[in-house]
Amino acid sequence: MNQPKKNPPAAVPVMDAEAIRRGLRRIAHEIIERNPRLENVMLAGIPSRGVEIARRIADFIREIENVDTQTGVIDVAMHRDDVGTRPELPVVHASKLPLPLEGRTVIIVDDVFYTGRTVRAAMDAINSFGRPARIQLAVLIDRGHRELPIRPDYVGKNLPTASREQIQVCLQESDNKPDAVWLEK
């Protein structure tokens, strides 16, 4: 008997390379607008794609304002609140932030903003390096479903999702595939 073929989970393209470029360029403009003292701004990417996105935003800021913005890496694995409760352990990376943080604006950069738990962990991690004047948040995609009272300051694209859906982000530098964002139903 012929069973109807099960469709593979449908993946809907959400952003292409050009849309990602425009989104990040707009974030760069907004960062410039909101931070008159750009030299105090530092972009801290969460591994692995957040690091690449932070680098690209810094490139746009340089292109637009001719200012070099410092970038850093902020690892969240050892600050997560669910170690020991998940079947697999998150891989830890070394954090690398330009110091000191006192008096600076640290902008946390990540690819997908979801429950807010990763960002909370990133804020804790930043505080172990010092006390920045303020912390802001820039994300490529905001997919909703917050579990903590945290909101982003800069968003590339708002994308309402169902919790069972998954967001796939590909960046040339970190994934070795062309830039794209997909929604998997």
């Binding site: 690892d75 050892m78 352990l89 998150p90 990376h93 070394a94 954090s95 690398k96 172990s128 390096f129």
Partner: protein, 309 residues
């Protein structure tokens, strides 16, 4: 991102794959960075309890594990042979089961009998970390030695490593041999024939009884302490004779390549296996080993203690 880590226990490097060893070393890189922060503490093992169970005396290994646990926000209890009920006739297994009944998540065990950590690991749900068992293995010492070599030389494969001294009684030597061989280093053991039996060649290493032949080729020399407390007199005529034949004196150190690393697991006996000037010289990475030991032990506690069982 998630790991391929599946072990709850660290018993020895013999059963580890090269991938697993490299993964511990990479994880240690991340934890070494924590030591440079203003607040040198992360919540990775918050709420977990670690028991340092040292049936054989040790200060530096116990302190290193204790500090590593503190930096991961775990709670620590120290139990030594004299304060434990082992002196009242309780068996090792019963003592350990009592610790588990207190919900100890990680048990760090130093024991004079080879295989004691394995014995407990098979019977307990807690993670068991071997902090040295008899003359069998001392895996965290070997991992920190590997980490230090890799940090200084950017690689381990192809390097010539000489391990010098009391090999027969040394768990540090055994763990180092397993780790170094798996990562592709050439290992040469040097010492008096009574302490370096040819038997070791079966582990894929060379054996030499003449230190002067080995030093000029070495990229790393790892000096082991002559263990008075484990030694019976008949293994060599005396300390003076050992130093004369195998000690890394100022004179002999001149045979070394300028970039050769000098390592020692400590505690060092100045003037016995190593001259004071050599131990404090530019080629010595003995204190880097201590610093790295902390990062490596944080990595091991995170990996073994962090997986859900």
């Amino acid at each position: 991102m998630s790991t391929r880590w599946t072990r709850k226990d660290l018993l020895g490097l013999r059963e580890f794959s090269a991938d697993e060893i490299n993964f511990v070393l990479e994880t240690a890189d991340a934890f070494k960075e924590v030591g440079t922060r203003e607040i040198k503490k992360v919540p990775a093992l918050r709420g977990k309890t670690l028991v340092n169970f040292f049936v054989e005396p040790s200060t530096r290994t116990r302190t290193s594990f204790e500090l590593a646990a503190f930096r991961l926000s775990a709670d620590v209890i120290n139990i030594s042979a004299t304060t434990s009920s082992l002196t009242k006739g309780e068996t090792l297994k019963d003592t350990a089961r009592n610790l588990e009944a207190l919900h100890a998540d990680i048990l760090v065990l130093r024991h004079s009998s080879a295989g004691a950590p394995q014995f407990l690991a098979n019977r307990l749900k807690s993670s068991v970390i071997n902090a040295g068992d008899g003359a069998h293995e001392h895996p965290t010492q070997a991992l920190l030695d590997l980490y230090t070599i890799r940090e200084r030389r950017q690689k381990i494969a192809g390097l010539n490593v000489a391990i010098i001294g009391d090999i027969l009684f040394s768990r540090v030597a055994r763990s180092n041999i397993f780790g170094l061989r798996k990562l592709g280093a050439h290992v040469t053991l040097v010492g008096p024939s009574t302490l370096v039996p040819r038997e070791f060649e079966k582990l894929g290493v060379e054996v030499s009884y003449k230190i002067e032949d080995v030093l000029p080729k070495a990229d790393v020399v790892n000096l082991l302490r002559i263990q008075h407390e484990r030694q019976r007199r008949e293994y060599f005529p005396g300390i003076g004779e050992y130093t004369r034949l195998f000690g890394l004196t100022k004179q002999r150190a001149k045979l070394l390549k300028p970039d050769c690393l000098i390592m020692h697991p400590g505690p060092i006996n100045r003037g016995v296996e190593i001259d004071s000037d050599v131990a404090d010289g530019l080629q010595s990475v003995i204190l880097n080993q201590v610093t790295n030991g902390l990062a490596v032990r944080m990595a091991v506690l995170y990996l073994c203690g962090g997986i859900s069982t």
